[in-house]
């Protein structure tokens, strides 16, 4: 069977980042995938070296707009590890609240986009409508819809006011029934079952081999969650469960994210109820030479920062590893062997959110013939005629 190449990207509608997938297909089946990244490379690791330690928190917030808490969180953990200080308990609780709020809005965002990729736009509109409520909560707590600018080395910049807490709790409470409804609409939907069950399976061995993190790994039965295994913030003082499923297909990734949202609500409620009194930051005079590592569980998985200092006010080296860096290569496992129509949702399942819509060019593997639009129309007419005769016969 002739092999054809279907490029997806680098620019397609309704996605966040430009990125280029080259799918090789045989008929309907995907036999190979190649990824080209670098459309988003901004050299933040180099930029970090010319900023002071306090400024870097604001730069790393702009690594990713959706994870705008995770990167400062991991970075402050790394610098605190370097100086061997700990944030005061109140700051830890505030950090946890902001991080879980981010997880809520990020998972809703993904759920909406996943619905959109499947052609189920109702979910898209519902999830994003619900997400606005959470952004309101974040606006009450931090003053911003995104890019919360809450984190500083040794604590947080802004306190949570006592008079805001009842309002926030009420809003969080009001989200639960809608979320339940959404959960039923998604998990019990037969169309969704047909489109996502048994699709894009990542086995447990492969997940470990690729070093997959976060919901991508937990859907394959790898029970690793940085919040449980290597507790930071207030996670060791709060009662919550790690969600793990076994099948590794797209459906399980949906289930994990939906259930994690309920856990996040639980964590926020407990944190707000038990918010300790006290200072929100500690005084840091200078940063000694040395190195520090911080890792936290972002909505998409483990976020890892390494900072080295030489005693000046700027880091010598700042390594950032976002969770998608480990999760993206798993496409080689999940997409190959499936059909091209499933590729969009499988590529979206790890939550980098990609879809293939317009902008398709079909090219022969040898690169000799380029199929023009007329050829494609002719092919589709032939196919329709073929189907017609088959239906007439049967």
């Amino acid at each position: 069977m002739p092999r054809t190449i279907v490029p997806i990207g680098p620019y397609h509608p309704l996605q966040e980042e430009p990125e280029f997938f080259i799918l090789t297909v045989e008929g309907e089946t995907v036999v190979d995938i190649d990824l080209q990244i670098g459309y988003n490379h901004r050299g933040i690791e180099k930029l970090s070296e010319r900023k002071t330690y306090d400024q870097v928190t604001f730069v790393v917030e702009r690594v990713c707009g959706i994870c705008s808490t995770s990167h400062p969180f991991a970075y402050t953990q790394a610098v605190e590890d370097l100086i061997s200080v700990e944030a005061p308990p109140r700051a830890k609780f505030i950090r946890t609240i902001i991080a879980e709020g981010e997880r809520l809005h990020s998972h809703l965002l993904w759920l909406g986009l996943a619905g959109h990729f499947l052609g189920y736009n109702t979910i898209f509109m519902w999830a994003w409508k619900l997400r606005e409520e959470i952004l309101d909560v974040m606006e009450i707590l931090s003053g911003n819809r995104n890019n919360y600018a809450m984190f500083k080395v040794g604590g947080v910049w802004r306190d949570i006011q006592a008079q805001d807490i009842p309002q926030v709790l009420k809003k969080i409470e009001s989200i639960i029934p809608t979320l339940e409804k959404l959960k039923k609409a998604v998990i019990d939907d037969p169309v969704l079952h047909a489109r996502t069950k048994g699709i894009g399976i990542l086995s447990k061995e492969a997940a470990i081999d690729y070093g997959a993190v976060g919901p991508t790994a937990r859907a394959s039965g790898v029970d690793r969650d940085i919040r449980k295994n290597c507790p930071y913030g207030a996670y060791d003082q709060i009662d919550w469960d790690m969600i793990v499923t076994q099948n590794g297909d797209v459906f399980d990734k949906v289930v994990i994210r939906i259930n994690e949202m309920f856990e996040s609500i639980k964590i926020i409620q407990q944190c707000l109820a038990r918010l300790p009194q006290g200072p929100i930051d500690c005084v840091i005079k200078d940063i000694p030479p040395g190195e520090g590592i911080g890792h936290i569980e972002a909505p998409r998985g483990e976020c890892f920062h390494y900072v080295r200092s030489d005693g000046t006010n700027r880091p010598v080296r700042h390594k950032i590893r976002a969770p998608t860096f480990m999760n993206l290569p798993t496409f080689k496992e999940t997409v190959i062997g499936g059909t091209i129509s499933d590729a969009a949702i499988v590529l979206a399942a790890i939550d980098p959110c990609y879809c293939c819509t317009e902008r398709m060019a079909v090219r022969n593997r040898k690169g000799q013939t380029l199929w023009t639009g007329e050829d494609l129309i002719r092919l589709s007419q032939e196919k329709t005629a073929q189907i017609k005769t088959q239906m007439g016969q049967s």
Binding site: P10, E16, P18, G43, K46, R62, R359
Partner: protein, 146 residues
């Protein structure tokens, strides 16, 4: 005022182009489509193909790999065409001005009609910016404002 201008401004179709942004502006653009902000009431629709688009929404700190692609997409746009730069990165590259991979600001690559500042701009700001764009265009062609 011709029928072309009239029809053009009644239903602006937008195409969204991320050129190395941090997703925040892109998410806020998407947010404009959702029930709370609902930008479709101004006749705007996010389209999947540059060849159907009237407005190019550009976000991000134009990185080296994107520069030739932005130019190519701009050439493929049917005329009349408008370009809107959204967010601090697309305006001046923001914190990424000294990045080795972001050599030029957007308006040195393609001409820009409207700048919407913010990091990220709120959906309301994006809508206000687009309405200003329509008004400006209408003033030029002698139509009544929105």
């Amino acid at each position: 005022m011709g029928i072309l201008d009239d029809a053009f401004l009644k239903s602006l179709w937008v195409f969204h182009l991320a050129t190395g942004s941090c997703n925040n502006c892109d998410i806020e653009i998407l947010d404009c489509l959702t029930p709370r902000h609902d930008i479709e009431r101004f006749g705007m629709l996010l389209t999947g193909s540059i060849k159907h688009a009237d407005v190019l929404l550009v976000t991000g700190a134009v990185n080296r790999q994107c520069i030739p692609r932005i130019k190519r997409l701009y050439e493929q746009m049917p005329q009349p065409r408008l370009v809107v730069a959204i967010g601090e990165c697309a305006l001046s590259r923001g914190v990424f001005i000294h990045s080795y991979n972001c050599p030029l600001p957007l308006d040195h690559v393609i001409p820009v009609d409207v700048y919407i500042p913010g990091c990220p701009p709120r959906p309301e700001a994006i809508i206000a910016g687009l309405v200003k764009l329509i008004d400006q265009r209408k003033a030029q062609t002698g139509q009544a404002k929105v």
